[in-house]
């Protein structure tokens, strides 16, 4: 190599952590940040939220995009097609846009890819779209030569609308952090598959579109939800770090309250990776005002995808931008992940 490492893109630049945020701040925002950074009625890339938004009459049009590169493309609990729909629907939902106007699907396929795998993936996309009451209304198909791309990459972009835009930066001191269910399921299921771990226990990705679940929570208390984010790449640790930093608060998470399935805990101990840092694809983190916690929790738990919802933490005035884990024996700082521990997890 004739250039230094800093001159080249590394895996961690796509892994949802600090390295990616720095790349985006240095390169992408330079190109795309509007000037002035926030035009009236436009929430652009400089917000670095789950998507962008444009004011349209009394509504916000919310737009989000994701290219899905997961490997392997079929895994317990789902496949790249289900992931592509869920990932985009969930990013819209995190901004309050649970009414989805349309999705797009752009396929980039390796020459020689089996037709039956493609059709299985498209079938998963159809099922997941129906679960979210969403429709794919536009598409694109490209084929690259053998060994020019590894299998298939799927971009899904979503357009939703909402009267009430929810940001990831809205946490206030005293707000509770609610997670909608168990953590680490997606990342640990993919990790177990990649490592060829033979498990007795059923370990499945949680991949699911959350539009209905989030609509239930917002209907229960539209003003009680102060912030939302889905803990994908970088896991709950990465997502809470980002929310805390943008909101200007600290967050204390209570270790004993973190819902983790026994089989996820088992793989976690086997491979030495904390479920806090592992991607989820069917979970959301909500900041909730203290007086709305009961209503929001009841609404979440009344939905099949939110049965295990619970309060896992609270926003505090000290340690701004940091995440503290209360272990019951003491408190320690949770490091912000630099990248995800698993490349191509979504």
């Amino acid at each position: 190599m004739t250039t230094a490492d800093g001159d080249r893109i590394l895996l961690k630049h796509g892994a949802g952590g600090r390295a990616m945020r720095r790349l985006i701040a240095e390169s992408v925002l330079t190109a795309f940040a509007s000037d002035p950074p926030e035009r009236a009625g436009v929430l652009g890339v400089s917000a670095m939220d789950d998507g962008g938004a444009v004011r349209l009459g009394d509504q916000w049009l919310v737009v989000t995009t994701d290219s899905h590169v997961i490997q392997p493309i079929f895994f317990p609990g789902g496949d790249i097609g289900r992931l592509a729909i869920a990932g985009t629907v969930n990013d819209l939902a995190m901004m309050g846009a649970t009414e989805i106007l349309g999705l797009t699907c752009s396929l980039v396929i390796e020459e020689g890819f089996p037709r039956r795998d493609l059709e299985r993936i498209l079938g998963s996309m159809r099922v997941a779209s129906a679960e979210a009451s969403a429709t794919v209304i536009a598409g694109d198909t490209k084929v690259m030569g053998a060994r020019e791309i590894d299998g298939i990459v799927i971009n899904t972009t979503g357009i939703g609308q909402t009267r009430h835009l929810v940001r990831d930066a809205g946490l206030q001191i005293g707000d509770r952090i609610v997670v909608t269910g168990t953590i680490g399921d997606h990342g640990m299921a993919v990790m177990a598959l990649r490592h060829g771990l033979q498990l007795d226990a059923d370990l499945r990705s949680d991949v699911a579109p959350l539009a209905g679940l989030i609509r239930a929570a917002l209907d229960a208390s539209i003003d009680g939800v102060s912030a939302m984010k889905d803990p994908t790449r970088g896991g709950v640790a990465g997502a809470v770090h980002e929310m805390a930093a943008k909101s200007g608060v600290g967050v204390v998470l209570v270790a004993g309250e973190l819902p983790v399935r026994p089989q996820v805990r088992g793989v976690s101990e086997l491979v030495g990776i904390d479920p806090l840092f592992v991607a989820n694809e069917g979970k959301a983190l909500l900041g909730v005002r203290p007086d709305a916690v009961a209503a929001v929790l009841a609404a979440l738990r009344g939905h099949p995808l939110g049965r295990d919802a619970r309060v896992i933490g609270v926003c505090v005035p000290d340690h701004v931008g940091n995440v503290i884990l209360d272990t019951g024996f003491g408190r320690r700082l949770v490091a912000e992940p630099d990248g995800d521990l698993l490349p191509r997890i979504c």
Copy 2:
């Protein structure tokens, strides 16, 4: 191989011709065609137009997506970044949506990709967006391992709005076919680069966003433009075939009226490929009612990107779904391309 060729994806399935349309009809539409095929107020994938559309009050929200896989990523006249913005802006414009609400940009990058190349590409995207009065408002960044993807793939999705939706299926008998300028420039420039042809003449891609040009044409006669399509993969021959088949007319093109630059003609003769079949990235085909031709041509020619606009053909009642070339010595059928002659041209 244990499976037959028909069971695998081939390069031609992504090349914009008959093979791609068949794959989409057999696999993609099965998954995504709404049921009933056209819900009121939704133009979905079954229309197989340049994008989808959703009715929103008295407007149509138009959505289009494209993943750009061009190789090489830098070429005379542009690069993959400029192409990504122009490709998406032009698909919106072809449906009448010259007012762009926002674009998304999703990068999939190979590990080891040079940072300075990424920044050059992002800079091109910024310039092209500004030319189209468009803003990138949401993005995504993924990194795949070395040799898991060849360089960089960029998905751009666009959202526009229009009161007056233009389709590619609206041609009527007697309508003239207008092209906004010279044909074959993009495909021939990339082909010359790939073949290492040393040319005296300046041969450059025409890649450009056409929102302003198309707005001028529609402003001149909103009811006079019956159909539009941009002749990218498959070239003018492929695009006119698709318009003719969907509209239920035949089209006679006049060979002597096709505007081709001398240097494009030169490479064309050298490599034995007709410019009619080669991709353009800064041109549009318009179906124009006879009484609106003068106004539309004047409007196009008054714009820097439309100086060479001209009538190249006419819609006829016979040979429905076919394209006839009038050579001056006689008439012959123009074959519909099965795929593009150049993989990864856009």
